[in-house]
Amino acid sequence: MVVDLRCCIGCQTCTAACKQANGTPPAVQWRRVVDIETGTYPDVRRTFVPVSCMHCGDPPCMDVCPTRATYQRNDGLVGIDYELCIGCAYCAVACPYQQRFKVQRPTFAYGAEPNPAEAAQFDPARLGVSTKCTFCSDRIDAAQGTGRTPGVDPEVTPACVNSCISGALHFGDRDDPRSNVSKLLRANEYFRMHEELGTDPGIYYLVEGRP
């Protein structure tokens, strides 16, 4: 995933789209936008930084998981097998991006009872286990054999990317030099969050165009 920090306006539409698509309970935000203020008055700058699971190439959460519930797919996405997870939260303290969530009891937005949308999406398998962003892997998987491309065709693209109103979020295959994200990375300066920890994070933040 590529995030163009020059474009993000902090509207949190991606946050809302993620919650709608994945039915996450209150206080669980698989995707969110943090607001970082830098500088000192009057020379101050605000940067809106969308964050989620980084789907690291070397995920610390996977190494520590005692049950193999956390796994890495062949395409690099990091997933969780809810049936294996014991909810020890070791992955939560191993993730440098604070992108693991654990909810023990059902919670809903408006009291003890779910509204119709929450009831439709409620999944008891997610209680007491670790959860996180999947990059909407069900949508990505739906592209197989259909000729559609994740990141290009909306129906097989993560919900957050589809919803972004400012064109800040991009999704695609980093290993394909012709992909949209590869072109963006060639054309711009970028960094990755906490890269120094050796996690090989899969989200790239664009900051400036290359001359």
Binding site: L5, R6, A27, Q29, R32, V34, D35, I36, T38, G39, R45, T47, V49, V51, P60, D63, V64, C65, P66, T67, R68, A69, L84, C85, I86, G87, C88, A89, Y90, A92, V93, A94, C95, P96, Y97, Q98, R100, K102, Q104, L127, G128, V129, S130, E189, F191, M193, H194, E195, L197, T199, Y205, L206, V207, E208
Partner: protein, 286 residues
């Protein structure tokens, strides 16, 4: 916490996880001490094993799906939590065997397994790469030294309660040595937590605790010396043991629950938005 940018204290591992390190470490240390004393009573071994079991029980109360606990054995390739669990099984079996049959080798075999258990716990903490104060490599010798010191302290107290005659003459010296090693390991660890290694708040918590630890260590050393020099005050060696164990437990509780600030978020560069140029980034809370 949504919206939090600077490092925040993690809430996933609470007092129950801390108790696993407290009981597990001190239990393993007690078993190591039991192997070192010439004629250990069954009480020492039982205490060590009971503490290890208490620690594991605390973890069981912590996990979200306790009835799947056996899944913990599935990832020995890289998970220190799995390895800790795997070592726990022979530790309990061999430890009970050592209590039941005694002999020369079983207590030493138990001690070796206890040290492996202690090492696994230390590496488990270091493996949590999201918590800077835990992932520092110097946390490993510190946790091991703490466990051994706690074990010696509890072992001495137990021996004094069961029969002061059983306490070897070198026990107080061993305790003082382990307290000094732990203090040295703590100072070295704290020295390694520079501005690049841990968030400001985590360092502040540990620095504040360090003053208390040194104070408690001083009390333990003075008490051990008093009990050794003057036989009338032999109970002071027990006090030294208690203080040592208490300080170790307090340290682990502080490390796991109070100093456990996460990485937070950081920018390596701030982007150009509209006019202007790219600028250096920010790392709030460090």
């Amino acid at each position: 916490m949504p919206g939090q940018v600077a490092p925040a204290r993690q809430g996933y591992w609470d007092w129950r996880a801390a108790c696993n390190f407290i009981f597990g470490g001190s239990g393993a240390g007690t078993l190591a001490y039991a192997a070192a004393v010439p004629s250990p009573s069954a009480g020492l071994g039982l205490l060590g094993l009971a503490l290890v079991c208490c620690g594991l029980l605390c973890v069981w109360f912590e996990i979200g799906r306790p009835w799947r606990a056996l899944h913990v054995f599935l990832h020995a390739q890289s998970s220190w939590m799995t390895r800790e669990s795997i070592v726990a099984l022979p530790l309990l079996v061999v430890g009970l065997g050592a209590i039941w049959y005694g002999g020369r080798w079983l207590p030493w075999f138990t001690a070796a397994l206890a040290l492996a258990y202690l090492y696994s716990q230390a590496r488990m903490l270091q493996g949590a790469r999201g918590i800077p104060a835990w992932r520092h490599p110097r946390v490993v010798p510190l946790m091991i030294a703490t466990g051994l010191a706690e074990g010696a302290g509890l072992g001495i107290v137990t021996q004094l309660l069961l029969g002061p005659a059983a306490l070897p003459g070198w026990a107080a010296l061993l305790l003082v040595g382990l307290v000094l090693v732990r203090a040295l390991a703590f100072v070295t660890y704290l020295g390694g937590l520079g501005p690049a290694a841990a968030p400001t708040k985590a360092r502040a918590v540990l620095a504040q605790f360090g003053r208390r630890l040194i104070g408690l260590d001083a009390v333990a050393i003075i008490a051990a010396a008093l009990g050794t020099i003057e036989p009338r005050y032999a109970w002071a060696v027990g006090l030294a043991g208690l203080v040592t164990a208490f300080a170790g437990g307090w340290f682990k509780f502080t490390l796991v629950t109070r100093a456990a600030y996460n990485q937070g978020f950081a920018l390596r560069l701030t982007p150009v938005r509209g006019a202007g140029v790219t600028r250096p980034g920010a790392r709030p809370g460090w």
